[in-house]
Symmetry: C2
Subunit: 356 residues, 2 copies
């Protein structure tokens, strides 16, 4: 086991700092626009937040990029998912050929969608249209042993960081990270339970659609996995928790969030899995939190706990529970409309409208 | 006072009937798309609902039209609004010149926005870009007398019906009705209280931003107005309630909803004022309810009562409270994404993805 010098870990480097002057100027502008102050609700708040993050009074969202990270999970062998493990690779093919929900949402909004294979159980490197960077052939079954080594966890985090660096080189203004991986609600649940020191029972849910009996089995598997990990490593660092109980695509998303924040790119966080990665990112570097916007509250019951832990209020509550980045892509039009309103509405003075 | 033959009132003519076969086929398609069944939440439900309303398995929303009805309210003289009455006409000018929130939201989505002057307190017929059809110079102060005669109420309903007929002639697939009128939360509140036989206290709120003292005054004015109306007309029909306590733009919206339903055009209902008009429309003709989709829950506290009375679950909860149709225009991208997902996603069979 490698024990790195913690002070040198890349994720601890400082993030960019939001611009308080731009925030203030955007806030003042909102109060001059021809509407009762506050009457656009959260649309006002996100415009002001994006002003602070872009460091300009009138922010724009012209260059938004989606990156979907896929990986398999050894714990799928324990029967914790409604779908067979083969679906991870089958869906990768579906993303690449444009038939998946996230493919449609990205295409409708002309968003580039990059697919990253972080490590699937069966070899799929012959599939075109995918960035193949497998760290390992899916994680080990964390109900029996650590999901990955710390070296592999670092490699998976790095996959996301590399994508964030590519986005920066392409002047992206917003990151939407999505995921695909059969059994990844299990990894997200038990990793979050470990990071938050909460019981699995408070976070576990049906994922893609387990019935009550199989949900009880999933909970038992995850409780035993958490116990095993904490016996092996009683007070794990976030990196150790990731290696014990995480997933490759969850690690990559967390790495992407951290590196994006260091490069000054905000992220619009998707649902339960993405929020577990956001939680990991914020535990790796608390200043990452400033750079995260939250798109929707998932129907997966544990999501509200993760959002509460991050003090996050999502834009949408549509009962979605698909992952892939689909909730974030669905919320994107609201951000764009919020910025159009902020930029294009007339002020009371310009329109010669009387104030209250 | 005219007493029409009730059986001949145009709003009682039948609405179009939603197509149950298209609903069923759309529902079956949703269950074949490459996602866990139900995992797109409300996006699935609205796609299925629009399939039933358009009578086709794969509905589209290419031709959406916005119509904004403006009118003044005599009760503004009682100090029930945070803004002076002049703002109604000033804002009409702002809508026409493109600086209002609804102007921006319509322009961003390439939606035609028609402005209808239903009757403002001061003459504004010199303003260009507006359909001037004033029924009267604003309503009378309903705290003192009926807001309008039943003949005027019929004329105002007709203004909306005419717009719905124009939309039908232009093959519109969705109506977004918006409104402008200083003091119209007062009219919407007291009209709804009358229609629902609920106390004003359960529905009243700060509108564009009254402080607590002025809110208490507003409540008192509206309670007295309701008492006056019920003394004059103890068991009013919906038309009589409208004439006693309504507004010209509220009547026009209700007329638009009813006529649109008769012509087979669904409507995406906005916030508190629009929902009071929807309630009136449904009391005029209960079958109109099938043709209404609900866009957002307003920050105006009484809105949740109106939504509950209509058994409506809105798509968004963003704390908006602007009116103008702004909440509906903000929700429109979600409907369009829902239909794109429904139409363009691959089925499990097409994508060769394994099922659960």
């Amino acid at each position: 086991m490698m024990h790195a010098n913690v002070a040198n870990d890349w994720w601890q480097s400082p993030t960019q700092t939001p611009n308080d002057q731009a925030r203030q100027q955007a806030s003042e502008r909102q109060n001059q626009l021809t509407k009762p102050p506050g009457s656009l609700g959260m649309l006002e708040q996100v415009a002001i937040q994006l002003a602070a993050l872009q460091g300009q009074t009138l922010p724009t969202l012209e260059r938004v990029q989606c990156v979907l990270f896929a990986g398999d999970h050894g714990v799928a062998a324990q029967g914790v998912s409604a779908f067979p493990q083969a679906v991870t690779v089958e869906m990768l093919k579906n993303f690449a050929s444009g038939g998946a929900a996230m493919s449609v949402l990205a295409r409708q909004q002309q968003l580039p969608l990059t697919l990253v294979n972080c490590g699937t159980a069966s070899d799929c490197e012959s599939l075109a249209g995918i960035v193949h960077r497998p760290v390992m052939a899916g994680t080990a079954d964390f109900s029996q042993q650590a999901a990955m080594t710390e070296i592999q966890a670092r490699q998976a985090l790095q996959l996301g960081a590399e994508q964030a660096e590519r986005l920066a080189s392409e002047q992206a203004q917003l990151l939407i990270a999505g995921e695909m991986g059969i059994a990844n609600t299990s990894a997200a649940t038990v990793l979050s339970a470990c990071l938050l020191q909460q019981p699995v029972a408070e976070l576990v849910g049906p994922g893609t659609g387990l019935d009550d009996g199989r949900l009880a089995h999933k909970q038992q598997v995850l409780e035993q996995a958490l116990q095993r990990a904490l016996t092996e490593q009683p007070a794990p660092t976030p990196l150790q928790a990731l290696a014990q109980l995480g997933g490759l695509e969850i690690a990559a998303m967390a790495g992407a969030y951290v590196r994006a924040a260091q490069l000054g790119i905000p992220a619009l966080v998707d649902g339960f899995i993405a929020t577990s990665a956001a939680l990991l990112a914020v535990q790796l570097n608390p200043a990452v939190r400033d750079w995260l916007l939250f798109s929707h509250g998932s129907a997966e019951p544990g999501h509200c706990q993760l959002l509460a832990a991050l003090q996050a209020e999502p834009l949408l509550q549509l009962g979605m529970r698909l992952g892939e980045g689909s909730g974030a892509a669905t919320a994107l039009p609201l951000l764009r409309l919020a910025l159009a309103l902020h930029r294009d509405m007339a002020t009371f003075a310009e329109a010669e409208v009387s104030g209250p």
